[in-house]
Structure formats: structure tokens, C-alpha cells
């Protein structure tokens, strides 16, 4: 198959379609045909005859379909045990029910069927992997339907900690498993198994061989624009993306597909042409430019929240509660911002940080404050052909207190009833020098509470000021009643979050996190 060289107007004339190629069960698989919106899970179960991976909800919320994706790591080193990089391979769990097959192009797909084959000891098998054997020994399965997903999540946790030379705590495991629902066991034995797996002789994923295989796969890839059947474009550079976007302003931009996946799996929406952002290296950039943290639109939620938490450890728990690892791995903060859900958990914190959005249309770049980005429910300032390139976060002034808050029925992996981002700075006299308060869940868009801010700005940080701000907040917002909470609770909850901020930061007798928070961040 010959591929023409890229032309200046690459976005206009469609290049030839190429098959989706990835590594599965030790072999390179080539999938031809219109597979653009076929889920990885359906491919596994229906085409590859690998039914070990299960469908529990078909919306990325139960984890029965969890698989592991391995891909050559970029230059960014592992950020810790939660971000396994093994022999130059980055490992990420994702929900295969909402991942489209072409997103596997150039990667390796690892499923529950693979585990027993990793580094097997001599003798007749099958030899269960240590995480599998520990699940058996600790009675970690009952009905067993969720178990393959747990095994894969435990494998990722195991590899990450083996690579880092440490063991997870129970809390680490609870987070690693936050995206896996079990209705039978009550989880205790599964967490026990996750700990006990480290007592056995280590058995590791064959990362070096896998990387060599992926490198060979990449080397065999023809140059030029990548288009898979069904209109799935996977541009390889920012310029290529910009040109494509200009030429196809109606196309669907796809990053982690943690939302768009459901448009297909639940709503049967036709997506038309797809511009996949996952192969654009510039969008994955995460770096400080002077005093500005630039978060590329393709940076995963996991990495983006890690960077934000470096500004203030108080943001770490918000990043954790945002979503479970498979969604944090697949989803992007840029997607969360551009999608613009009124209950998105990213924008309130970013608004409190006075984030700016770098928008690109063709070769034109402009910067829009996040404050001004949202126009109305699911409407924003993006023009036809324009896309979000990066989020710019200025370094907060010294002494700024940052908070990311969330109220929901369940602690982990729930959509917020109310979310909030706060930035507060007091001057030496105890007056409020600067304040930014942003809320999700209280209006048609995430937005700042300007009247509440006005009630605080320049005032002494006293209870009277707090009460005035709480009263003003009621005039700032128009909450709705829905399945998550009543309008009354949303307002009460938002006011309570303000009160918590005050109790933690007041000059007289501030309360420590342990007196205010159910799960204070470990010191």
C-alpha cells in the first residue's frame, strides 16, 4: 500500500484508509472495515472471541470491561506507582466499553486472558498471576462477573508498585479499584488480595518484548496522514489537526471518549467524521512557561490533576474524586473544559485559578479567560473550525489558599451535586486581598459567584463577612432540583463549602483539616 506524501491541504483531500493495527495476545492484529465507533469491548467479545472481559454497564462506570493499554512512553517519566512506566512502556487501564477500536492503533491491548502467561514458572500451567492467585486465596470473587476487571486493575497497581519498588497501602488500593464495582464481596477480600499479591515471587509483564514489538509496528507504519475507515482521522501533529479542523468544522473532536463513548453506546448517535486528538504529541505537553503552567488539551486527567495538586496539595483529593483511574487515564482535562458540563469538576478549580484557554483556528491563536468561555448550557465561545489547544494556569500569588471541593452521594466516582474551586489570599492585616469563588452544579454553566466574591473582597475575614458572602451566594446562583440533589441542598451545600473555607482559614482559631474533613489528606 503506497501512501502519498502529505500535501499542504491535507485536511481537504481524504488520504487512503488504513487498517487499525495493534498488538493483542502477542500478535499484531489488523482490523479492516468501518470500525470507527466499534468499541474495543465488542471487538474483543464478538470478533476476537475473547469473552473474559465483561460488559456490566456499557458506560464506563462499573469496570467489568477494564483492560490495560500499553504504549511507548513519551519522554515524561513515571509520576509514581499510579502511573506505571515499565521498560519504556506506559500502562493505563481504560474502560473498553467506551473506547473506540481505532484508538488502539499502534498500541498493545492487554486483557485478563493474558495475565497467567506473564513470566510463568516452569512446569505445566496455567499458572495464575500473583494478583489472580491472591484473589483466589483471599476469596476475592463470588459471582465472578466483575472479577476480570478487578484482576486487570490490580495488575496495573501491581506493575506500578513493582516498578517503583514499593507496596500499595489499603487507601492506594481503594483508589486503584475505585472504578471497579463489586456487588458481592464488600471489597475487603479484594483489597487484601491486592496487598498479598506482593508476597509471592514477582512475575512481570513482558514489557521489553512488548515495546520492541510496538517499535517494530511503528517502524512499519507508512508515513502520511492517518485515516481509518468510518472517517476516523488521527492527525499526527498540531498543524495537521488545525488544518483538518478547519476543513471539517462539523467533525467530532475525540479525546478520551469518556463522554462521547456514551453517545454511541447509549444514544446511538452518528458522530460523522472524527478527529482523534490522542495522537497529537503537542497536545500532550504539560510544562511551565515562565509563571504559567500550560496543560495541553490532550493531557490526561490523571496527569493534569497531578500537576494542579503540585500547586496546593489540597487539590489532590479533588483530582482523586473526579473519576476512577480508567476514566482519569483516558479522559482529558481539556475535554472536561471544552465539553463544558455545568457539573464538570475541572472548570471550577481552573476558574478559581484564573485559567486562560488557548484556542486555535487554522494558524490563528487567541487566548480567552475561562471565566468568559461559557455562554450558556453546553454553549461556549469556540468558533467553527476552532479548538482548544491548551489550558494556561498562572502560578497563584504567594500565600494563596486553593481548594477544590465536591459534594456527591458517593465519595468516589460520582457526578457532583455541587463542585467548587476557591482561591483566597489574605493580607497581613487579615483583610481579603484576593478571592475567586467558582461553582459547578448551581447554574447552566460553571461560573464565578461574583456577588459572593464582592462581599468578601477587601473585607476582614470574619464570620460577619462569611455570612454576608453566604447570603450573597444565594443571589449568585440558580440551582436546579434533579436526581442528584434538590435546589435547596445545592445552595445549602455551596454555602457550607464557603463556611468550611472560612473555618480553615480564619485568623482566629482556624480549624485543622482533621476537624473539618472526613478524609483529611495524609500529611
Amino acid at each position: 500500500m503506497s501512501t502519498p506524501a502529505p500535501e499542504p491541504n491535507a485536511g481537504c483531500s481524504a488520504p487512503p484508509e488504513r487498517p487499525v493495527r495493534f498488538v493483542h495476545r502477542g500478535r499484531v492484529v489488523e482490523v479492516h472495515g468501518p470500525q470507527a465507533c466499534r468499541s474495543v469491548l465488542n471487538w474483543l467479545r464478538e470478533d476476537a472471541q475473547c469473552p473474559g472481559t465483561k460488559e456490566g454497564c456499557n458506560e464506563g462506570d462499573c469496570g467489568a470491561c477494564t483492560v490495560l493499554i500499553a504504549e511507548p512512553a513519551d519522554e515524561r517519566p513515571s509520576a509514581g506507582p499510579d502511573d506505571p512506566v515499565v521498560e519504556g512502556l506506559r500502562l493505563r487501564t481504560v474502560n473498553s466499553c467506551i473506547q473506540f477500536l481505532p484508538t488502539l492503533h499502534g498500541k498493545a491491548l492487554i486483557t485478563v486472558e493474558d495475565l497467567a502467561g506473564f513470566d510463568p514458572p516452569p512446569g505445566p500451567g496455567p499458572h495464575l498471576h500473583p494478583v489472580q492467585q491472591a484473589l483466589v486465596d483471599h476469596h476475592g470473587s463470588q459471582c465472578g462477573f466483575c472479577t476480570p476487571g478487578f484482576a486487570v486493575s490490580l495488575l496495573a497497581c501491581y506493575e506500578g508498585h513493582q516498578a517503583a519498588g514499593c507496596r500499595p497501602s489499603r487507601e492506594d488500593l481503594a483508589d486503584a479499584l475505585a472504578g471497579n464495582l463489586c456487588r458481592c464481596t464488600g471489597y475487603r477480600p479484594i483489597v487484601d488480595a491486592g496487598l498479598a499479591a506482593f508476597d509471592a515471587a514477582p512475575r512481570r509483564l513482558p514489557a521489553a518484548a512488548l515495546r520492541a514489538q510496538l517499535e517494530a509496528l511503528a517502524a512499519s507504519e507508512a508515513p502520511g496522514p492517518v485515516l481509518h475507515a468510518g472517517g476516523f482521522h488521527a492527525p499526527r501533529s498540531l498543524d495537521e489537526l488545525a488544518a483538518l479542523r478547519l476543513a471539517r468544522p462539523q467533525a467530532t473532536l475525540l479525546a478520551g471518549s469518556t463522554d462521547i463513548g456514551l453517545w454511541v453506546s447509549k444514544q446511538f448517535r452518528a458522530l460523522g467524521d472524527i478527529l482523534y486528538l490522542g495522537a497529537v504529541p503537542e497536545l500532550k505537553r504539560l510544562a511551565w512557561e515562565g509563571d504559567t503552567l500550560v496543560i495541553g488539551a490532550g493531557v490526561s486527567l490523571e496527569e493534569a490533576w497531578r500537576a494542579l495538586a503540585a500547586l496546593d496539595p489540597a487539590l489532590r483529593e479533588m483530582g482523586r474524586r473526579f473519576a476512577a483511574p480508567p476514566v482519569r487515564h483516558a479522559g482529558t482535562l481539556g475535554g472536561n473544559v471544552a465539553n463544558g458540563s455545568p457539573i464538570g469538576d475541572g472548570p471550577p478549580v481552573l476558574m478559581a485559578l484564573d485559567a486562560q484557554l488557548r484556542l486555535r483556528r487554522g494558524t490563528r491563536l487567541r487566548t480567552v479567560p475561562l471565566d468568559d468561555f461559557y455562554l450558556d448550557y453546553m454553549k461556549n465561545r469556540l468558533e467553527a473550525g476552532e479548538f482548544l489547544e491548551a489550558i494556561e494556569v498562572p502560578r497563584p500569588a504567594s500565600g494563596t489558599v486553593l481548594r477544590g471541593e465536591k459534594l456527591s452521594k458517593r465519595h468516589d466516582c460520582d457526578i457532583s451535586a455541587v463542585s467548587a474551586g476557591f482561591a483566597l489570599r489574605l493580607d497581613a492585616a487579615g483583610q481579603v486581598a484576593a478571592v475567586r469563588l467558582a461553582f459547578g452544579g448551581l447554574a447552566a454553566t460553571v461560573r464565578r459567584a461574583s456577588q459572593a466574591e464582592a462581599a468578601i473582597q477587601g473585607q476582614p475575614w470574619t464570620e460577619a463577612t462569611l455570612r454576608a458572602a453566604q447570603a450573597a451566594l444565594a443571589r449568585d446562583v440558580q440551582p436546579l432540583s434533579d436526581l442528584r440533589a434538590s435546589a435547596a441542598y445545592r445552595l445549602r451545600g455551596a454555602q457550607a463549602l464557603l463556611e468550611r473555607l472560612w473555618l480553615e482559614t480564619r485568623l482566629v482559631d482556624p480549624l485543622p483539616p482533621a476537624a473539618l474533613r472526613l478524609r483529611p489528606a495524609p500529611v
Partner: protein
């Protein structure tokens, strides 16, 4: 006479029953190698079905635009009520439930038509056109149980269960009581959320036969319902289930609509048809645990002893009867929980609403009824300023006195006082009670709460004929054993326990025993695997079959070893006698050569049960299972959020058949029940009646983070006083009541906001909003002058 010494291996052999064996499929589960129905290889020509659902809560069905559906890509056939060859009926008790709607739709989500297509996706896409192809005339819908009850809308006649010491004694006792408490309480329903959704795969076989792979707790009922829908005899339909990915009661009666549609389509088209519902549709179509409303009035003395109680229970039955009658009966029979109620009257109303038809869910009404009395006792304690534990103890059933249940059964196996004493000591309850008070005194925002609640749960179906089971045991000439029984494996470890029972009975290695799929062609007329009775019934039936085989092997062994039959011992994978041993395979081989029948059936019927459905009196339960739990919580009084800090569980499983599996059931039930009472909120749209919480994105079951960091579970040393299987006790449902302690601990923490003087009006589930509402109410009441 001196018997020759037994070999060391025999003396050292531990009994097979009582061992903590892993689940028989555990190694398959973890490898993704345990096939569920959707994992079975599809036969060539398999078609896929999807259901078209009513888009409104109540209305007249005027027409279905079948031509529009037929024209959609991949569609092979469209079925509606008129296409069913037999009875359009799948109500398990009352025949009020059409498989596909006829002239009226009764809830938003009711199946109206089925699309059969070449792929599952094509079927789903076509079925999703329901709102466009259905012509409907809306009728007024009733969505709330209280409203339906007020309008006299019920799915079955209302019930009254009462026991008075003399006519009129209840009212007199209420009037004369030194203290009186009246109030209301409300608890929500609960979605089973089995991880494997409903699925049936129907494959035509020769001579007008049909094999249906169905994820169901009740293969025999599916067999009969399918046969009725087809107008066939039962022997034409085979239903098979190797394992379910969870059931919890949701696959007892409510697998039927899926099984029937797949079956009818398969027979009509002469091709295999699979119906696997999407998770959202599963929520929209099937019912769940009944939410209940309670009105109560109790009279009590200064120690908090209940002197008389009258309670009205209104359950949300949904649109049809389903199992709402027996669920209400069990709720009425568990209002007493562990407590002696000298005078008692209960009214049960199963309200008909235009919502999904509610059904079995682990506990089957028992948890609802029992939570009501626990809340009442908690309120009594608070009003008296006493520790709720002391009030509970004062009300416990007595030993040999104060032991008659409201339904006339005497409690003869009561261990609750001793069990609670042990838990109080083990959990350090008293010291922690003081520590919680100290913490709260110094903590303005976060408040701790602590509670201990007991469990008494009756074991048996309260329909006599369901309390029976059958089994088949085959011995092959190599000494391997194949067991089949009427119970179904849904994760609870039933097959593991039954295999242990058979291995124990024959004295052989566990590995020789294999338990196969539940199959209506092997054991006929089975009961649902429900009411916690799976091991009790099927274990006994399998033991009966294995015992018959052993008895047939005795003469052979006696001859081979040249000893008196009375000297034989079957243990450690061999038969022993006269100082010699014969390995089990050699024994079986010898028996075969002697033409001994090497397979046997077994049967069991629970003795001593009787029940009068009219008077609601009798011996409904073979025995009771007991337990208790202490939970400690931390509540954020600013936001209403909370967190479990610690749980100590002590539970009575009699002599455990398998402690690891039993602990798994106990902990799993605790977390499941905790979810019911905390985060699992069901919300229907107040106008349209659409269930808004219809997927895990909106309906929140607990995750690993919600489990208490200190979680201690112990089995209470006890033996069943009845001759149950190896003196064990049922374990599926009773521990679902243990997390009452978590709910009441939240109540305790909320109450701390008002100095424990005000009774918190906390509804279940205790979502952050419910908790904050209760905190506001307590604060408001505390601020009012006394």
C-alpha cells in the same frame, strides 16, 4: 474388643465440611475463564432481540407502527402481544403481568414489543424507536405509594397480622402505657445491581423442543412460564443455568420476560435468539427492593420496654403483584426482629403505582420490617435519655418466656443476648461510646455516631411446598463424582458447599466432586434459590443421594476388607476397616463389577412447617439466624456527608459449612445493605414517572473506598438446634440487616447536634441531603424553647 488402629491419615483427616475452601469457580473467575451466558459460543444463525419500552407511565396502547420497525436495518421480525402463541402472562403468583403490553401500558419502561435483528446493535437501535412507533393515549399516573394507598390502589388485598393477649388488649395497652410514641418513617427501594444483566439465549432443538440458557434463580419457573407462553408442555422446554453474575433476588421472577421473549422468537423463527438487555433497559424494565412507608404507634414503659405496638406498612409494589404479597408477609413477620412485642397489630398494604414492579431482593421485606422497629427503639431510647443498646436489651425475646412471635411461632433457639454480650465485649462498645461522646464534645463540625443493632431472621419459605429440593449424584468407575441439584449458583458458593457435603458423606477428596449446571432436565420441579435456603435444601438433598450411594458401597467394602460393616469408616479418600484401607476408586470399581447402581437421587423436605395464609399464623420458619453489628461513623454536619470508620460484625451461621464463604456472605451483605441505607437513592421524575437513576452513573452502589478501614467479622460459636445440614444455618439474607447499625450510627451522630435531646427525622437512604435535612430539623427543634 479392640478395633485395629486406623491409619494416621485417617486419624489426622479433618472433616471436609467446615473448611474454608475457595469458591469452586474462583480460579476460573480470576482468569476470565468462567463462562456466563453471553460468553457461550453462539450457534450459527443466532439472532438478537431487544425490547421496545413504553415511553409513558400510564396510557392506552392504540397502535404499533410495525412497518416502520420492519424497515429498519437488520430487523428480521417484530413481536407484539398478539404474536404470542400461548399465554401472554408471566406473573409468578397473580396472573396480572403480560409479557408484552396489550391494550394498556402501566409504567415507563414496560416492554411493548420486541425487535429481532441480525445483530444486537441493530435490535437495540430499532427498539430505541419505541417513542416514535407507539401510538399512545396518556392516562393519569400514580407514582407514590402513599398516594396510591390513599386512592385504594393495591396489587393484592391488604393484610393484618395481630396477636393480642386478649381481645381489645392492644388498644387498652396503648392507652394505658406510661409513654406513647407515634410517628412515621420512610425507606427507599434498592436496585439489585447484579453485575451480569438479565440474559436469555433460546435455541430450538429437535421435535419442537427448546433449550434456554437463562441467567435465573428459578429455572423451573422459567421452564413453566416459557411453556405457557408457547402453549407447550413443560417437557418440551429445557432451562439451564451454570452460573449467574449475581442475582440477589432480581433473577427470581423477573428473568421471565426475557426468557419468554427469547423463547417465543426462537420458536417462531426457528433460529437461536439471544436477549441480553442493556444496563439502562434492565433498570427501566425490572423492579427491585420495595420502598416502604411506616406509620406507627407504640406504648412503652420507663425502661423503654414496648408494651404494645401498632404499625401500618405501605410498600411500593409497582404496577403488578409479582412477589409483593410474600414480601409484605415477610416484612410483617420481621417487624419484631429480636424483640418481644406483648401486644401487636400490623397492617400491610401493597400499593399499586405506575412504576416498575418491585420484587425479591435479599431479605425479601424482612429488612424493611425490621428496620422500622429498630428506628422506633432508637427513638424510644432518645426520648428516655437511655443508651439505645440498653433499650434493645430490655426488649429482647426471652429464654423460655416472652418468646412468642406475632405470627404465633415460639422462638426456641434464641441466642441474641449472649451474642450481643460477646459483641459488646469484642468491639469495646462501652469504651467507644464514651470516646465518641468525648470526641463530639470537642468537635464542632464533625460528629461521630455509634450504634449496635441485632438481627433475628427467620429461615424457610413461608409457602410450604417451596421447602423441598432434589439432587442427583453420579459415581463414575474411576471414583469421580458428578453432582447436580436444583439450586442455582449466583456467587454465594452453593456449589462449593454442596460439593463439600457430598465429599464429606463419601469420605473422599473434594477434588473428586464436580457440580454441574442447574438443568431442568436433570432435577425437576425445583424451588427458586432464594430465602437463603440454597444450602439448607440442596445440601440435604445431595447428602441424601450421597448417603444412599455410600450405603450401597458398604457391603462391597465389608466384603473387600473382610470386616463387619459397622467397623467401616469412609474418610480420607478411602474406606477403612480391620486395619486396612481400600482407596475410593478401587471400591467404586469393585461395586461396578458387582452391578451396584452407582447413581442416586436425593430429596429433602424441611420438616415441621405450617402456615395459614389467611390468619398469618403458624410455624413459618424452621429456625432463626442471629447476628449483631456495631458501626461507627463520622458525619460532616456542614455538608451532610459521612464516612464509615469501623464495623464489627458477629454473626450466627450455626456450624459453618465453609467459614470463608460465610464471612464473604456476611461482609458482602453488610456493604450491600449499607449502600441501600446510604448512597443508593432511586429517583423517579415527579411528573413523567421516568426512573432517573437507571445506570451506575446515576445510581451509586458502594465502592472500595466506602468500606470501613476497620472491618472485623467473626462467626458466633453455635450449632443449629434443628437438624439442618451439618447443623449449619442459612447466611444469604440475615446479614443484610447488620448495616442497620450504620444507619443508626448516622442517626446517633446527627442527634449529637442537638445534644441527644431531639430525635432526628432521618429518612433512608441517608444521602448527604437527607442527613443535612435531619440536622436542620434537629437544630431547629433544639433552638426552640422547651
Amino acid at each position: 474388643m479392640n478395633a485395629p488402629a486406623l491409619p494416621d491419615a485417617v486419624l489426622a483427616a479433618k472433616p471436609e465440611v467446615g473448611r474454608s475452601r475457595p469458591h469452586e469457580s474462583a480460579a476460573l473467575h480470576v482468569a476470565g475463564a468462567a463462562p456466563y451466558i453471553d460468553d457461550l459460543p453462539e450457534l450459527a444463525g443466532t439472532l438478537h432481540a431487544a425490547l421496545g419500552l413504553s415511553p409513558i407511565a400510564h396510557g392506552r396502547l392504540l397502535a404499533i407502527d410495525r412497518a416502520a420497525l420492519q424497515a429498519l436495518p437488520g430487523v428480521v421480525e417484530v413481536l407484539s402481544a398478539a404474536d404470542l402463541p400461548g399465554a401472554n402472562q408471566c406473573g409468578p403468583i397473580v396472573h396480572d403481568e403480560p409479557i408484552l403490553a396489550t391494550d394498556t401500558v402501566h409504567y415507563l419502561g414496560q416492554p411493548v414489543f420486541a425487535v429481532i435483528a441480525r445483530t444486537r446493535e441493530a435490535a437495540r437501535r430499532a427498539a430505541a424507536q419505541a417513542a416514535k412507533v407507539l401510538q399512545l393515549e396518556p392516562l393519569p399516573a400514580v407514582l407514590k405509594a402513599r398516594e396510591a394507598h390513599a386512592q385504594g390502589l393495591h396489587v393484592i388485598p391488604s393484610m393484618t397480622l395481630q396477636r393480642e393477649s386478649a381481645p381489645g388488649a392492644l388498644d387498652a395497652a396503648l392507652a394505658a402505657a406510661p409513654h406513647r410514641l407515634a410517628g412515621q418513617f420512610q425507606l427507599g427501594g434498592q436496585e439489585q445491581f447484579y453485575l451480569e444483566g438479565q440474559i436469555s439465549y433460546a435455541c430450538p432443538t429437535e421435535n419442537r423442543g427448546l433449550r434456554v440458557h437463562c441467567s435465573t434463580q428459578h429455572p423451573s419457573e422459567m421452564q413453566h412460564t416459557i411453556a405457557h407462553a408457547l402453549g407447550w408442555q413443560a417437557h418440551q422446554v429445557q432451562v439451564e443455568c451454570r452460573r449467574m453474575g449475581g442475582g440477589f433476588g432480581g433473577k427470581e421472577s423477573q428473568s421471565a420476560v426475557f426468557a419468554c421473549v427469547a423463547a417465543v422468537a426462537a420458536v417462531r423463527l426457528g433460529r437461536p435468539v439471544k436477549l441480553r438487555v442493556d444496563r439502562d433497559d434492565d433498570f427501566m424494565i425490572t423492579g427491585r427492593r420495595h420502598g416502604f412507608d411506616f406509620d406507627y404507634a407504640v406504648g412503652h414503659d420507663a425502661e423503654g420496654r414496648v408494651l404494645a405496638a401498632e404499625v401500618t406498612m405501605i410498600s411500593n409494589a409497582g404496577w403488578s403483584a409479582d412477589l409483593s404479597g410474600p414480601v409484605m408477609t415477610r416484612a410483617l413477620c420481621h417487624f419484631d426482629n429480636a424483640y418481644w412485642l406483648p401486644e401487636v397489630r400490623m397492617h400491610g398494604h401493597s400499593a399499586r403505582t405506575n412504576t416498575q414492579s418491585n420484587t425479591a431482593f435479599r431479605g425479601f421485606g424482612g429488612p424493611q420490617g425490621a428496620l422500622a422497629i429498630e428506628v422506633i427503639l432508637d427513638s424510644i431510647a432518645r426520648r428516655l435519655g437511655r443508651d439505645p443498646l440498653e433499650v434493645r436489651r430490655a426488649n429482647f425475646y426471652g429464654l423460655g418466656e416472652r418468646n412468642l412471635t406475632p405470627y404465633g411461632q415460639t422462638v426456641e433457639d434464641n441466642v441474641i443476648a449472649a451474642l450481643v454480650d460477646q459483641l459488646v465485649a469484642d468491639s469495646d462498645y462501652l469504651a467507644r461510646r464514651a470516646a465518641v461522646a468525648d470526641f463530639n464534645a470537642g468537635s464542632p463540625v464533625l460528629k461521630k455516631g455509634l450504634a449496635l443493632t441485632p438481627v433475628k431472621f427467620g429461615i424457610s419459605f413461608n409457602v410450604k411446598q417451596f421447602n423441598q429440593a432434589g439432587a442427583l449424584v453420579h459415581l463414575y468407575t474411576d471414583g469421580s463424582v458428578l453432582v447436580n441439584h436444583g439450586g442455582t449458583e449466583m456467587g454465594q458458593g452453593l456449589n462449593t458447599k454442596v460439593a463439600q457435603v457430598v465429599a464429606e458423606e463419601l469420605g473422599i477428596a473434594f477434588e473428586r466432586v464436580r457440580v454441574t449446571a442447574t438443568d431442568t432436565q436433570k432435577v425437576a420441579n425445583t424451588s427458586a434459590t432464594a430465602a437463603s435456603t440454597g444450602s439448607d435444601l440442596n445440601g440435604k438433598a445431595a447428602q441424601d443421594a450421597a448417603r444412599q450411594l455410600r450405603e450401597r458401597l458398604v457391603p462391597i467394602a465389608a466384603a473387600q476388607l473382610a470386616v463387619d460393616p459397622a467397623a467401616l469408616r469412609f474418610v480420607a479418600d478411602a474406606v477403612h476397616g480391620g486395619g486396612r484401607s481400600l482407596p475410593f476408586p478401587a471400591l467404586v470399581k469393585a461395586a461396578y463389577l458387582e452391578r451396584v447402581q452407582l447413581w442416586s437421587d436425593g430429596h429433602y423436605a424441611t420438616p415441621g412447617l405450617h402456615w395459614n395464609r389467611e390468619t398469618l399464623q403458624g410455624r413459618s420458619f424452621y429456625y432463626y439466624a442471629y447476628g449483631a453489628a456495631v458501626s461507627e461513623v463520622l458525619v460532616d454536619t456542614l455538608s451532610g456527608e459521612h464516612r464509615l470508620l469501623r464495623a464489627d460484625l458477629l454473626h450466627d451461621v450455626g456450624r459453618s459449612l465453609n467459614p470463608a464463604l460465610d464471612i464473604g456472605q456476611i461482609e458482602g451483605a453488610y456493604v450491600q445493605g449499607y449502600g441501600w441505607l446510604s448512597s443508593e437513592e432511586l429517583v423517579w421524575h415527579p411528573q413523567t414517572g421516568k426512573l432517573l437513576t437507571h445506570a451506575p452513573s446515576t445510581y451509586k452502589i458502594p465502592t472500595a473506598t466506602d468500606v470501613p478501614p476497620v472491618f472485623r467479622t467473626r462467626l458466633f460459636e453455635n450449632a443449629n438446634v434443628e437438624d439442618s445440614i451439618h447443623r449449619s444455618k442459612a447466611v444469604g439474607e440475615p446479614p443484610l440487616l447488620l448495616p442497620f447499625s450504620a444507619f443508626l450510627a448516622i442517626r446517633d451522630a446527627v442527634s449529637a447536634v442537638g445534644g441527644h435531646r431531639i430525635d432526628p427525622p432521618l429518612r433512608a437512604p441517608a444521602t448527604p441531603e437527607a442527613v443535612l435535612d435531619a440536622i436542620d430539623a434537629v437544630r431547629a427543634a433544639a433552638a426552640r424553647p422547651a
